[in-house]
């Protein structure tokens, strides 16, 4: 049971990192990125290949994951800069499917749909499964805290305020002399770096990655997390991620109540419950569980 809680917490942490990354791009920068799974995959593959075939230490793998995802994010953003949100949504969705196709078909590099197994995890061989879960949970939690603090700080920095101004009205921001392109590309790249980092954590925690993992399903979960938690707000992103993992995992325990149903019906019912719960959260708290507050200086009481 306890081991399970640590593992659920680790997944929640990875989801929280993803939500934080999306929050920088969407919540703070106002750019929708339905290609999340693609950056998640880039980070996972970069770190898996670097630490596996490349035999580099895991911290370097994590760094490479973040850098590669950031580069891809910056490039994609530069290419799509002129597009309005709805278009960007569909272009980025296409981008992540392209990444998944490459992962499945470029067997020489990614081992194709067989995936990469045996990705090293920190001290995995020396620890018991229980201890490894605990360590992973601690490391991921630490990463979430660091990224959370960093993005909260950024949000309140001049950079964050400028970004917010651009998000809310880019014409006005341009008139005020803000270099819109640079801000947007930077925000996109930074968010993508966090997504890549989450991918690397996922790879080292579960020790296996394959193209199937990076289907759009996970993107859906994260956007629901962010919307449920409150966009534009790092704490909301983390809370939303925890809420979504709680719904995903908690719904497994409904099984006992509906024992008359067959396997498919139960599985379908579980997903119906997940979807309805998420829609209900969004309707009851349309601005999220924790709505965005105008950013004040970091770590100072702000009267509103």
């Amino acid at each position: 049971m306890l081991s399970w809680l640590f593992s659920v917490a680790t997944f929640a942490g990875i989801y929280a990192l993803l939500a934080l990354g999306i929050n920088v791009i969407w919540g703070m920068g106002g750019m929708i990125n339905l290609g999340m799974a693609g950056f998640f995959a880039l980070g996972a593959y970069a770190s898996a290949l670097a630490t596996g075939a490349g035999a580099l230490p895991i911290p370097i793998g994590l760094a490479l994951a973040a850098v590669l995802a950031a580069l891809a994010g910056g490039l994609l953003c530069r290419l799509t800069l002129r597009l309005r949100g709805d278009y960007l949504a569909i272009v980025t969705l296409g981008f992540s499917e392209l990444i998944r196709l490459i992962a499945a078909n470029e067997i020489w590099m990614t081992n194709g749909s067989d995936g990469i197994s045996g990705i090293p995890g920190p001290w995995r061989a020396e620890l018991s499964p229980f201890q490894f879960n605990m360590l992973s949970c601690a490391l991921v939690t630490l990463a979430v805290l660091i990224v959370w603090a960093m993005t909260e700080r950024l949000r309140r920095s001049p950079w964050g305020r400028a970004l917010r101004a651009i998000r809310d009205d880019d014409t006005a921001a341009a008139v005020a002399g803000k270099p819109i392109t640079r801000f947007k590309v930077q925000a996109f790249a930074l968010g993508a770096a966090i997504l890549g980092l989450a991918g690397a954590f996922y790879a080292h925690y579960t020790s296996y990655i394959a193209p199937d993992i990076f289907r759009p399903l996970i993107t859906i979960y994260i956007f629901l997390a962010l919307t449920a938690g409150g966009t534009g707000n790092s704490t909301g992103a983390v809370v939303g991620a925890i809420a979504v993992v709680a719904v995903l995992e908690g719904s497994r325990f409904l099984e006992g109540w509906v024992s008359v149903l067959g396997g498919v019906e139960k599985a379908a019912l579980r997903e119906i419950v997940i979807g309805v719960a998420l829609i209900a959260i969004m309707q009851l708290r349309p601005r999220g569980l924790l709505p965005e507050t105008p950013p004040g200086p970091f770590l100072k009481r702000k009267d509103t």
Partner: protein, 288 residues
């Protein structure tokens, strides 16, 4: 490989015509309600299964089954929009779009709950292709294409000549002005949710005809639908038709230059290419 070019072109036109029907539904909803409704995936599935019930359970022929698919998918679209999405609309297009993804998960699993995951086929005869020289086409595909064309003409006629059609265009082009003219935007929204999802449902059944359907039927072709709508210009109904042709022909012709395993990438490249030069799609965003 080049000897296959004419055949691929024909295949592409047929695929494009089939894509056009649900793409019109998707883009019409966007034009009036101003959000990309990702629930088209599950509505296509709902339509396919409604058609299956009409055809196999009730023993109806193809055309009445398609009408039934339209009706049921439209009703589901209307009701689910009222309950799930409409209350969220004032919080922004993207919030609503995200909720529509959750909605699609719900609807897909409602279908799964009642029908299970088994593959199901329609009770309609299959026929072999007929050949015109080197080129082969299937009579059933021609029929489907003719149906698609008829549906498109009906949609255009309705937009042009009926009061509701004109009201819809007015709301799509300028909601503020339409309101001044006394057009009931809420009612127009309902009609569009019904008709749009009805068309998506018909598209789902057209794709399922002659193959088999399961709860994932809709997911198999949503990316090309989105791509079609975006390439043509989101919210533009003629754009959806044109975009569907570009994507359909592009995907089939891609076999000439690209590994078939990368077929879906064509939609992506088409979008990037078109949007680089025309950020609002080929035909811009006027509804009609």
């Amino acid at each position: 490989m080049l000897d296959l070019l004419p055949q691929f072109l024909v295949n592409g036109i047929i695929t494009g015509a089939l894509l056009a029907v649900p793409a019109i539904g998707f883009t019409a909803i966007f034009a009036v309600l101003r959000f990309p409704n990702f629930a088209v995936a599950s509505h296509a599935t709902v339509g396919a299964f409604a058609g299956f019930v009409a055809n196999v359970t009730f023993g109806l022929p193809a055309i009445p089954s398609l009408m039934f698919a339209f009706l049921i998918a439209g009703l589901v679209g209307l009701v689910s929009d009222e309950i799930a999405l409409k209350p969220l609309r004032r919080y922004g297009a993207l919030t609503t779009a995200i909720a529509s993804i959750a909605l699609t998960i719900v609807l897909e699993n409602v279908v799964r709950f009642f029908f299970g995951n088994d593959l199901r086929g329609y009770d309609l005869p299959l026929v072999r292709d007929i050949r015109f020289g080197d080129i082969r086409v299937n009579p059933q595909q021609l029929e489907n294409m003719a149906l698609a064309v008829v549906i498109m003409i009906a949609v255009f006629a309705a937009l042009k000549f009926t009061r509701m059609g004109k009201a819809m265009r007015a709301v799509a082009d300028n909601p503020g002005l339409a309101d001044l003219k006394g057009i009931d935007a809420v009612m127009v929204g309902r009609v569009v949710a019904f008709v749009g999802m009805g068309l998506v449902g018909v598209g789902g059944m057209l794709f399922g005809l002659g193959t088999s359907i399961d709860p994932l039927t809709g997911f198999r072709f949503i990316l090309p639908i989105f791509a079609a709508a975006v390439v043509g210009g989101l919210g533009s109904i003629p754009g959806a038709v044109l975009g569907a042709m570009v994507v359909g022909i592009g995907e089939e012709m891609s076999a000439l230059v690209l590994e078939p395993a990368y077929k879906s990438a064509v939609g992506f490249f088409a979008i990037v290419l078109v949007l680089t030069f025309r950020p609002r799609g080929l035909l811009g965003e006027r509804a009609y």
